[in-house]
């Protein structure tokens, strides 16, 4: 049972880890959008 639990936990962790990279990239996009908005406002 330990091997099965390990396999499912690791697969879950990989899905969760990838989801976190998507969240991080979304924050980067939000920061860039803010910077682009500020530049537009300055002009």
């Amino acid at each position: 049972m330990g091997f099965v639990a390990a396999a499912y936990l690791i697969v879950t962790a990989l899905f969760a880890g990838y989801a976190l990279t998507l969240v991080g990239r979304q924050r980067l996009i939000a920061d860039l959008a803010e910077a682009a908005g500020l530049q537009e406002a300055r002009r």
């Binding site: 099965v4 499912y8 989801a19 998507l22 682009a36």
Partner: protein
């Protein structure tokens, strides 16, 4: 559209896992470790689908020079690495109780590891060579790397290997009883749906990011 897809995929992954762990029958010879099949087989088939998307996206990018195809190939390559990683790790964990070893350098395992290295290389090229030159180089790697997939499939059929013969993807049809095949198909559908949801999110991010960087550089 993407949010319901992601919620549906997450729900189906949970249903598939519960079915595999609690409802599917225990295999007579391997016992409990055989339940890893419900992760391992969907992971590898989803990885092949992801590689198919990389191949099509890369070919169309080189042909049409349209960045949208490059975004698709790049996003699919990331997900291909994710699903190949799941395949390799779940296979190693399944191998230990059944074969007595985590890893062996046999044809199928080695060609799968090579596939993982090829697409990690693809992502390294994307990270270190941004712009159109990096995109073209990555597209060539993406196309050539897919040639490893038939090698992996045929390695277990043509060569002597510890890995069992295909039980699902075979010309005569799957060699599994319905009580195991149905949860396997549910898990495969869940993984494919999750792939579609993550791909949609990643492609949208890549397009937005490119547009923003262009806007900031042009300003």
């Amino acid at each position: 559209m993407i949010r319901p897809l992601l919620v549906g995929a997450t729900g189906l992954v949970l249903v598939g896992a519960a079915w595999a762990l609690l409802v599917a029958p225990e295999e007579a010879i391997q016992g409990v470790p055989q339940r890893i099949m419900y992760v391992h087989v969907p992971s590898v088939i989803t990885a092949y689908v992801a590689l198919g998307v990389v191949f099509v996206g890369s070919v169309l990018f080189l042909w049409r020079r349209d960045a949208r195809w490059d975004h698709l190939a790049h996003a699919a390559a990331e997900l291909a690495v994710l699903f190949i990683s799941m395949t390799l790790i779940s296979g190693a964990i399944w191998g230990k109780p059944v074969w007595g070893t985590w890893w062996t350098w046999d044809a199928r395992l080695t060609t799968t590891l090579i596939l993982w290295f090829i697409y990690v290389g693809y992502l390294i090229v994307r990270a270190w060579a941004p712009g159109s030159r990096g995109a073209r180089t990555a597209a060539v790697i993406g196309i050539v790397g897919v040639l490893d997939v038939p090698l992996i499939h045929w390695s277990a059929i043509l060569l002597r290997t510890l890995h069992p013969q295909p039980t699902v993807l075979r010309p005569e049809g799957p060699a599994l009883p319905a009580s195991m095949l149905v949860p396997l198909v549910v898990n495969l559908a869940a993984y494919l749906l999750m792939f579609a949801a993550l791909l949609a999110i990643r492609v949208r991010q890549e397009r937005t990011l490119t547009a923003l960087v262009d806007a900031l550089e042009g300003a």
